[in-house]
Amino acid sequence: MGDRTFLGEFEHLVLAAALRLGDGAYGAALMREIEERTGRSVQAGSVYITVQRLEEKGLVRCTLGEPTEGRGGRPKRFVTPTPAGVRALADHREAMLRIWDGLEADLEGGR
């Protein structure tokens, strides 16, 4: 499997949310998106750290926006997945699907 990048649980959530939000992907929006879709509450601090880590791995690129009203005049930090990030997400999805393949029937029992 060579140089492929594996994503941690939360990394994959942040990355997928950023992909979905496109141009509107910044901290607060990412938190809202993840909270709405997964139903779990999200810490701003962990989103912040995760974005930083993804940036260090070259999976996202960050840019600062203009100071904005409604958030104490502070700028937004926008998050865009890089091609490597998109590829990592695709790999992750494929691995997940393979892992889950054929288990649907067994999961029914747990409902």
Binding site: D23, G24, Y26, G27, A28, M31, R32, Q43, A44, G45, S46, V47, Y48, I49, C62, T63, L64, G65, E66, P67, T68, G70, R71, G72, G73, R74, P75, K76, R77, F78
Partner: protein, 909 residues
Amino acid sequence: MSRGAPRPSGPRRRAAPAPPRLATGLLGLVLPPGSDGDALLGDMEELWRERRAGRGALSANLWYLGQTLGAVLHLLPRQLNDKSIMDHLVRQLRHIVRRLARAPLFTGVAVLTLAVGIGSNTAIFSVVDGVLLKPLPFKDSDRLVGIWFKAPGVGFPTGVPDSPALHYTIAASNHTFEDVGMYKIGTASVTGVGDPEQVPMVRVTWRTIPLLGIRPLLGRTFTEEEDTPDGPQTVMLGYGYWQRRFGGDRTVLGRTLTVDAVAREIIGVMPKGVDLLGSDADLYLPFRFNQKTLGMGDFSYPGIGRLKPGVTVAEADADVARMIPLAVERYPGGFTQGMLKQARFSADVHPLKQDVVGDVGKVLWVLLGTVGIVLLIACANVANLFLVRGEGRQRELAVRTAMGASRGTIFGELILESLVLAVAGGLVGLALAFGGLKLLVALGPTSLPRLQEIGIDPTVLGFTLGISLLAGVLFGLFPALRHGEPDTVSALKEGGRGSSAGKRQHLARNALVVTQMALALVLLVGSGLMIRSFRALRSVQPGFTDPRQAVTFRVTIPSAEEKNPAQVVLDYQQMVDRVRAVPGVASAAVTSSATMDGYTSNDAIAVQGFPLEKDQIPPIRRYKWIGEDYFATMGNPLLAGRSITRSDIDDRARVVVVTEDFARDYWPDPRDAVGKRLRDFVTGQQPPWYEIVGVVGDIHDDGVNKPSVPTVFWPQVLRDAYGDTLYARRSMAFVVRAKSGDPTTLMPQLRKAVWAVNPNLPVARVRTLAQWEARSMASTSFTLIMLGIAAGVALFLGVVGIYGVISYVVSQRTREIGVRMAMGAESADVSRMVIREAAVLAGLGVVAGLAASWGLTRLMASLLYGVSPSDPATFVAVGVLLSLVALVASWVPAYRASRVDPVEALRFE
């Protein structure tokens, strides 16, 4: 939405609501500087507003706090690993140190103030830690308990010691102890080498030393056989005595030492630093009780036990209670089951530490509270300094904000600056604490236990670091909250001269001064109450007069030295005659125990005409045995009748003298006691009656701070009912009153007088009556001194605080005052105006302080004597004193204000 290059955030609107400032500030500390961190703060504020609109302010704030804590936990470890951040921190620290060094007066005053606060806390805490918190220096000391009893039915709600009968019953039949022991602290005389010597000694049962986990340095501890009446005579040496007397000679084992006139083999040496339950003993001897003749009684020996693993104190207590009827059964001839029941006699087992520490805990906790208040005052003072200085920096901070420094960055920097100051204060404070501890130990009550365990150790260092950081955050928070969000526009506009760097600014400073005044008042009230207690103690008539003029010393004649009791009496009489002949001696007498010297003895008494009900416990009274001239020498007045005379002693007359409070228990007029009869109470026996020939003043034998003790004074020699057996006291204290001057200067001649009769007798425990008296006042005077120092420091800091605020206000209002005076105001009006302002602050502080004192002085109630914790006189006097001092402190700035030259003041603008 456009994405641009990073750029600084601009000025913000102030009106919009903002998330909790404290949390934002906290975040500022862990966020990296620059816009990335700002973006996170923005995200949180955005979601906070959303939540606030949807679910209300409380929910939003709680969410924000939770997020803050989470972020701190996530970010802090990363920050600490990040080299650039650490570099940034170091750079910032260097910057702060440089800036502080540029303001040496500010820095010096702040550091010194904090050092006093932190140093005093460190010193007192190290005492609290050494005395109260640290485990005892014994193996598995948490399993060690004191075995005591209580008899609330006869006035002993606690503190009845173990008895041999109970001890042997517990040792044989308990289910909860691994081991039990019993001990008694006393003295013994050593003869045969050089001058005879009386040394501190501890008697122990043979298991006591092993039970504590103590291994002898040399040799062994006692065997069971050596702890029986017929076993071989042996002795163990304390480390200090071994060094002093034998030069640490390791061949000392097997040699004989004559202790209490009996030759005993030295079998062991105790290790260094063993402080067996508060005694620094030179010698250890086994009790050698005869189990065959024991009866239930003789409650004189503190018991100790080691619990089996997993056994609780309560279980042990129940187990010991179960032993009481067994002991009555096994050792008949003493207290009956009925008597014990009437006395509500039961077990009182508690952790051993309680025995060792005793009452001193209360004093120490009050002291720790006191120095805690001093620290708060110090923090308030430094916070005030910061506010004054912060006003000067308002402009600088505003400029930096305008240039893009975030609120969090500035908050973090201000807090960091406080922390740097606090840590510097802590370091200087530590040095002060080193010195202070020496002073404290020197001043400390002689009864302060575990003195050798007090010191500055890692626990204390941790405490110092902790309170330094806490203090830093405490006084740093004020200015940081004030300036964390500088009002950029107005600060720049007004050129930093803020005609009113805000009413809020003023309010913060005034609140600090009021707090300081209030805290200082609490300490002053505390010291005032201690002074009143001290004076009340001084006015007690303890049962003697002019205690500085009288010296006491003890001479013991062991039976091995002189068998015949009649000769013992003659020996004492010869000694006292020779003592009286020493030039400079006004009078002298012998007694088994001088008032307050601690040699107490109590026994059951029967008074003719006052028969007991069946199973009623006879009253227990203090016994003392005296020779002639005793009351005259002590200076205790005879209220009725006469004293015991030399011919009473020689005739073996059956006469006694009682104290006034003893007599009052039986007769409305104490003088009616004369002519009545009493005797020793012995179950099943009829000892001879003794006639009361005199009544003397009450004696505070347990200390001036304790109630007087009803006492019976017997002649120093008694004979039994048939007159054929004599009982002479063999350990007597001499009381010698000098004509003038220090009576201890007579000691060489007094020793010679004693040794002229028998050169083998040690002259021990040389103390003036004043020293015995001082001992019972030690804890009061100690608390008084410490509280006095604390209150002095508090008062000083409070005065500096109010002076500083008023001076500052005057300097800020120079222009206004100038205008007023130009308009025709008299200088008196101006000073009145300034003083009025000070009076309002002082008044608020006094009122708040009195309210706080009302609640807090209750905590020191047990340290007070003869004064209520809410003593109105003290409260009023202290309130007036503090107000006056505050007004004097504001007089200088008021005077300065009245001398303002209107022309100068206006030109200044």
